[in-house]
Point group: C2
């Protein structure tokens, strides 16, 4: 039988290994069945034009490791039960079988349950996370890449795990000019996204059963994250002025995660008069505040109140930002501003657990920001998002007329607080998903208002209109009279 | 006084915010001194050509937040003590002051001590981690980037946190062809580097005081990482056949981290006859094996024994690989192969703690591998590293003649086992670093042999020769008679 091998004589991998690897592949993949005869070494040697010894050595190793067996005076055969047969069975058996094998792997079951958050995409998807690729600055990003790689003379022998110098500088300057935040580049750690920044903070402080304050409703993933780290979550409600500081716990807490500039998902901005009290609470509770700013870069109306980190006189605020919100998941880089006295420890933690982000990409982003192309991109994004927001507001008004809109002044999503008489948002979201329209439910948690979440950044006006119309149809089928607008 | 403001009328940020932010910046940075007078709103309005109301609103906010104060009938002044003054003091006070403030932030001191691993670079640096930028495939990487960004139509609405499909497929195919490892793309999780893969595994299994087996000597950072996670380390010695399985603990363990293909830093390859016993040990101990393959991609002699994951019939092996070793830190992407039954949990963990790597970079790497450019790069790298290895071996022979070399058959580093009569490697390394020559010490740990680690991948022949000569000089000054070669 002729063996379908593709050998590269110039390859870094010795021929003998290539034969071994490929034959093994054919056997494991089942292309070569157990007990099937293998072409004799001298024929294979001729076939691929290499020394017979090489082939023999490869065969010997396959025999030694149980993939082949030689039957004296008969020839060489695929062994009746090659090693991986067992593995394939395992993977076929599926997950439940893991229980039967608990004696082999008890460890797995000692880790906290981890939610898997992967919704199936809908044709019209208002759920957070959807991006419009046409809004990505592909051309200017490519130009920046060309500048960087074109002039790349050397990579630092040991790039700082805290991030590439030029990027940390660019972020510091951008924050000063655009967000009124003054920090030294040394306080900035580049992360592979805001999520990693949160993990890093948790790693610095959290022990099992520590108290962590999170907002409710929340959609940042911070709650999942800190819970997975074993923390005890204390959910503080959010209203139209952001986190309701009167509900902050009296006792001690280790961390509090807040989204002040555009609450995720509720959309409200943390009012100025609540900011100083929040910081004072942190000081008394012995907690650190995590100011998650990912969603607040783009504003349409109102001025952003001074950020917590700028107000904080005690060095209790970690400030987290990300570029994924505005650059799409194409570039997943974020940053973490660390209180001066903890910078060294935080960088060490980053080094131990992750050891730094890609250097090329950091340099490209640095160039992109410092050259002003990021701001240009933000201006364009704001213009288009604003049009889409207005279109969405209009359509919701047309079709429903009732209910209130929250979180329209920033970001790329808003919340429609459902009028009384409608089913729970979660139920509506589930139903509309079945009709290929994705909307977010504010929360299944009954303590928070019944609202639907619309992320409009990723959808053009046509899709937005179509989506809202479709949703109206679905809702009317639920409660014909209570939701159709009086048009 | 004329204010140095740079306002952008078309910016996404409202003018009022720009004035506020920039004035605030000037005050906080100290460019505007406390009590200095601020130009009257109408003058500033004229100066920058905007409505006076805008300026007044900005001033009002600066007053409200304590940066400015108005003195009736006199004018507007920088306040005697603007908010951030306090912050600046903090950062000036330096780290020790944190102790005095322990009541404010007790949390920090409850996290395990985290080592910071940042050596100061030397002019001639044999220490691991140094890259030769001339060996980076910048041009072909740029071409791949152009192909990807040029044809980028859309980014998946929710990119899988496990990684971009094409990259997972490309890695799976590459592993089958080049490493004789057959896995489904679904078992592969793309990480931001091998370090993150280890963190992910630790997160899945480790509880404080769990036992983790690590090799000694080791340089992977795995020991630091698992220790920082609270694990109890059990160090198993390595000899010239790799991990000495006879020293594996009798009792239970949760994880064991091994570098079989090119032990880091000792360089030995885990012998075939030790591999199955290792897997059987894992099964009995209820442990998972972490096969850290980062350093074994390039081999000069001998065939790589079948990897542990290919031998393992129980699904107890996590296989970790990285591209940083061969692509430099320019691209920090790695991968983790997860036993089939744990894939879902591991992906969920990745989603919770990091939420996926940059999509552009993943797509570029996928194209780079699938198009064969990665293999081309590896062939070039192997050729040049081989020359450098031979040069290093020759020089060491010339200058010292004594001692033995280990780990020459793969990777880009080797170990010189020091002849008797020489001071501990750590001492030599420290001394040579003072002469701007970086060499690695095998380990300060007295249980392991006294050896110097030379990573030659990042240095051309001239520097290698110069470096060894310099080292010889330093050593001769230590012990004139015992180390000079008899030439």
């Amino acid at each position: 039988m002729h063996l379908p091998l593709a050998l590269e004589k110039k390859a870094a991998v010795p021929l003998q290994d290539q034969i071994f690897g490929q034959l093994r592949g054919l056997i494991v993949s089942g292309k070569l069945k157990p007990n099937s005869r293998i072409v004799a070494s001298r024929f294979l040697a001729d076939q691929v034009g290499i020394s017979r010894t090489t082939v023999i050595l490869a065969y010997d190793r396959l025999v030694a490791e149980g993939y082949l067996e030689t039957r004296p005076a008969v020839g060489t055969f695929v062994s009746p039960c090659p090693p991986e047969a067992t593995i394939r069975e395992c993977s076929d058996r599926g997950t439940e079988s893991i229980l039967r094998q608990a004696d082999v792997r008890p460890a797995l079951f000692r880790c906290p349950p981890l939610p898997c958050r992967l919704p199936t995409p809908c044709r019209i998807d208002f759920r957070p996370g959807s991006h419009d690729p046409d809004l990505l600055p592909l051309k200017s990003w490519l130009r920046a890449t060309q500048r960087i790689l074109g002039n790349c003379r050397r990579i630092p022998v040991v790039p700082s795990p805290a991030g590439a110098e030029p990027l940390r500088r660019a972020i510091a300057e951008w924050l000063a000019a655009r967000r009124g935040i003054t920090v030294a580049p040394e306080q900035i750690i580049v992360t592979s996204g805001s999520r990693q920044a949160l993990t890093l903070i948790g790693r610095l402080f959290l022990r099992p059963r520590d108290t962590v304050v999170v907002e409710t409703p929340t959609r940042t993933g911070a709650a999942d994250l800190f819970e997975a780290m074993g923390a005890r979550l204390l959910r503080v409600p959010v209203d139209e002025h952001g986190l309701d500081v009167d509900w902050l716990p009296g006792g001690a807490a280790v961390l509090a995660h807040i989204t002040p500039s555009h609450q995720i998902p509720f959309g409200s901005t943390l009012a100025q008069h609540r900011r100083r009290p929040l910081i004072e609470w942190a000081r008394t509770a012995g907690a650190y505040l995590i100011e998650d700013d990912c969603n607040g870069v783009i504003r349409y109306q109102g001025t952003a109140p001074t950020s917590l980190i700028a107000l904080d006189p005690y060095g209790l605020v970690f400030h987290v930002g990300s570029f994924s919100q505005t650059l799409g998941d194409g570039v997943r880089l974020g940053y973490l501003i660390v209180p001066p006295e903890m910078t060294a420890t935080a960088i060490a933690a980053k080094a131990v657990f992750d050891d730094g982000c890609s250097w090329f990409e950091q340099m490209v982003l640095a160039d992109f920001i410092a050259g002003g192309e990021y701001d240009t991109h933000l201006r364009r994004l704001r213009k288009i998002w604003l049009q889409r927001r207005d279109c969405l507001i209009e359509r919701i008004g047309e079709h429903f007329g009732t209910g209130r809109l929250v979180g329209t002044e920033a970001g790329n999503d808003l919340v429609w607080l459902l009028p009384p008489g409608l089913p729970p948002a979660a139920e509506i979201a589930e139903r509309s998903a079945r009709h290929d329209i994705g909307v977010g439910a504010l929360s299944a948690d009954t303590t928070c208002p019944n609202g639907l979440l619309f992320s409009y950044g990723g959808l053009d006006e046509t899709l937005i209109s179509e989506g809202v119309a479709g949703l109206a149809e679905i809702l009317s089928s639920v409660r014909p009279h209570s939701v159709c607008a009086s048009r």
